[in-house]
Symmetry: C3
């Protein structure tokens, strides 16, 4: 139940981030809705299809559909209040990847996968909605931007298992702490322009 | 049986539309065949994978494979007769999205999905073959072009349920009417340059 | 067992080819790892999802994960020894498509698919890891480059069935011979700039 709400919240965050990118690209209202939809359900859909959880969640649970429609209307109506588009995009995208990393890990554990694979699955769930969004909008895929992105998901995922080891039976605390690790690393990375060390001499 | 034929017809239409785009891009014969194949089966494959209908249709029913090969040969041989490439592309693509919208809705109903989700599934089936085609060909994805596109699928899908309500037990009539709604809206949209209202002041 | 090893070898070859493309694109270490991962498991993942073999192989067998990580480390550390990046990329990519074509055909036969569909499935498995790699890196998808590429997979796939007809019960010999057919055709195509005949008068 608790992580069902995380899933909904992640959907809202990603839908809004999709609207932000689509507005920057000046798409028509329906293009905006499609990008929001694809961003919000893309990562979870790939996750479900990899696991064989089908029909995928949003097909059988209409809540996701209405949540996305609602988020799109909200984001379009209040787009002037969300003045600093870039900052809003960053914020909602970051919340989205934090939530989806942990939801993906949970679903992987539910399918009895190895922890290392759960982290990979969480990272894929978190990042690939944004990757599809960027490919459709002909942007450089978000995972290749200079500041640490997928690395934040991986570190958050590892902290999930570390916390489980240190504090067994503290489910909800661990969820929230791992989500915050992802968000915090991402904010620090963007604020201080943290990058991974370069592989190239002349950088 | 009836909508099996719709599925075949949609496959032919999309395969030919794929050939048209690939010829414009001056791909080699095999590139043309691949684009035709991906366009024709892309939307249906995503639909089947979302629903968990696997192995997907074209893997177990070889008819689709031979229909696509036949359509490619036809379209390549008669490409001079199909002189007005752009118009042919428009025509076949439009027939394709009309047919696939209704086939997708039918499959969604068969999996007992909510009507609103069936419309979304039909729209995805109809549009994403073309989206994959355009991404591979490095074109702007068809759903973002200015004239109404996915909107036509959605309106056709809604009319499907409206007609079902008005004329219960008229299966085949409703199929054909809904397909014609999609096609008609799309033709009107392109003829009269109908667009959705803009979200941007300076448009 | 034998073709499990082919699968592993194909994964190594594709992972290294992914590293090569990513280094050319000057991605950061994590971007390099992601491209390697996606290239190595992309084709097989699509194959498994089309067939309904889920959870897909790399989720339940961690060997693939560690093999990819190992290949990435190897390729990054020895990237100076792999001086001629373009040639190395070509070599590893070619080995990868040879192996994956045959593994895909085998899996198709295991699911009792028609031979012609098995060849299509093998070709998709072999080519689409590279296609996803190129889309993410914003390169022209590999299947559309001028020299024969997917055609090599198809001819190798056909030779698999021809050899089966000529030499029944020679499993491993046939695997290896078909793989070599793919690799040989590809090498000849690139060496002698072999292309399919053009569809366009002014070429």
């Amino acid at each position: 139940m608790f992580y069902y709400w995380l899933d909904i919240l992640g959907t809202v965050a990603f839908a809004i981030s999709g609207v932000m990118v689509a507005l920057e690209k000046r798409l028509d209202p329906f293009g905006v809705a499609i990008i929001a939809f694809v961003t919000a359900i893309g990562g979870g859909t790939i996750r479900d299809m990899l696991l064989g959880v089908q029909p995928v969640t949003w097909l059988i649970n209409t809540t996701f559909f209405y949540v996305i429609i609602g988020s799109v209307l909200f984001a379009v109506v209040f787009r002037k209040q969300l003045k600093y588009l870039t900052k809003s995009l960053f914020l909602f995208d970051t919340i989205g990847i934090g939530l989806y990393t942990v939801v993906g890990i949970e679903k992987g554990l539910g399918a009895q996968l190895d922890p290392v694979i759960c982290v990979a699955l969480g990272t894929v769930s978190a990042c690939f909605g944004g990757v599809i969004r960027d490919i459709l909008c002909r942007e450089i895929p978000v995972i290749f931007r200079k500041e640490i992105y997928a690395t934040a998901c991986i570190l958050g995922g590892l902290s999930y298992f570390l916390l489980h080891y240190l504090f067994p039976n503290q489910g909800e605390f661990i969820y929230i702490a791992s989500i915050l690790v992802v968000i915090l690393i991402r904010i620090l990375a963007v604020t201080y322009h943290l990058r991974l060390p370069s592989l190239y001499k002349d950088d």
